[in-house]
Amino acid sequence: MAKILIVDDSRTSRKVLKTILEEGGHEVIGEAIDGMDGLTKFKELSPDITTLDITMPVMDGLQALKAIKEVDSSARIVMVTAAGQHTNMVDALKLGASEFVTKPFESEAILAVINKM
């Protein structure tokens, strides 16, 4: 079981992802509504895994990924995004993201990614 922080500006996505993760036996220890909020909560909560949406206002997922990696280079980050952002995905992997999952969420695919981390 992993302690997970969800960072996504969409309440719907946070709720659906939280349900999937909790049904998969994981604990969601916090939710953040944008990259800046995510960075603050990452420092407060020290999650095992952080899920980061890419398209967010204030600070987007790539900026948040970079900032979190500066705080903790070993942080395990899963990028979450709609299909179609492959360039961003490549950038994210270069910046140190461990994995990525795409929306709309499919519980089996998400749990397979989280469980192997």
């Binding site: 309440r11 719907t12 709609a82 299909a83 179609g84």
Partner: protein, 294 residues
């Protein structure tokens, strides 16, 4: 989609009732189309020939196709092709309507010809409608001057609605617009090689027809949480569109936004297409070459 498009025409013309349409669509899910009905629909046999084979089939332990070949009504190749059409949505709808006794096959076929006249479509266009394939149907319902990329954009949206929201959803004729007003709307723009934008607007509780199935949550009204669900659905459509078009155009998605109250949806030029989801009319709006503001 053909069952809803043509079915609503039948209701509008008073040929069947709304309740009969609902019953036919429900029973269509269990229908296996008879070969005789397909053969008549494909104009390879007359209704009388099909009836003759049906009578013979009642007293012979043989399949319809075998008897039709023996009688010289069909060739083996034709039977093979007809068997391939058994899952066709138009034909399963025809069978559901005729099996329930709402219309005869002749009346059904005549109404389809009248529907073609009303739409002003060619026989090829009607074959596209019969196919039930969103990619073939959408181009028939967009206004003149719609960019091919925009057609692709709308097709992705309609396919995604059918896949994730309501498999019985259907579309109406689209038109050009600039300033549209709704009780609630959500939008997401894309930038990159070209600007583009996509929005759903609706009045009353219409947008709940998307928000509830996509968010898997009941909402009492079209509040901001419900609109967030609609915005996330748009995000999925845009992601799929951006993936599909990535060989030709590079597009990045911007964060979606949404509002309720009296909302004005504006763009230099947008295609607005009514989509009927679970009995509600939602307006799908798509701009290409400019963004959409709310």
């Amino acid at each position: 989609m053909v069952n809803q498009l043509f079915g609503n025409y039948l209701v509008r013309k008073g040929l069947i009732s709304k309740e009969q349409l609902e019953q036919a669509i429900e029973s269509q899910k269990k229908v296996r189309v008879k070969l005789g009905l397909i053969a008549v629909s494909e104009k390879l046999m007359t209704a009388e020939e099909a009836a003759e084979v049906n009578k013979l089939q009642a007293v012979m332990d043989k399949r319809f196709g075998d008897i039709a070949v023996e009688k010289g009504f069909l060739t083996d190749d034709q039977v093979g092709r007809l068997l391939g059409l058994q899952g066709n949505q138009y034909l399963t709808f025809a069978q559901a309507i005729t099996d329930n006794g709402f219309l005869t096959l002749e009346a059904f076929e005549q109404a389809f010809l009248d529907y073609q006249k009303e739409l002003g479509f060619t026989a090829t266009d009607m074959d596209s409608i019969k196919s039930g394939d969103a990619d073939r149907i959408v181009p028939l319902f967009v206004p003149e001057g719609t960019d091919s990329v925009q057609v692709e954009y709308i097709s992705v949206a309609v396919r995604t609605i059918l896949r994730l929201i309501d498999s019985d959803a259907y579309i109406g004729s689209a038109s050009w617009g600039r300033n549209e007003s709704f009780d609630g709307a959500a939008v997401q723009n894309l930038r990159g090689d070209r600007a583009a934008g996509f929005s759903f607007g609706g009045n009353g509780k219409a947008l709940l027809s998307i928000a509830v199935p996509f968010g898997k949550e009941e909402f009492p009204e079209v509040d901001l949480d419900a609109l967030d669900s609609v915005a996330e659905f748009i995000n999925c459509i845009n992601g799929l569109f951006a993936t599909g078009i990535s060989g030709k155009l590079k597009l990045d998605m911007l964060p979606p936004s949404y509002r309720n109250g009296l909302v004005k949806v504006s763009a230099d030029r947008l295609v607005k297409m009514p989509v009927y989801i679970s009995g509600q009319e939602v307006m799908l709006m798509c701009a290409f070459g400019s963004t959409i503001s709310i």
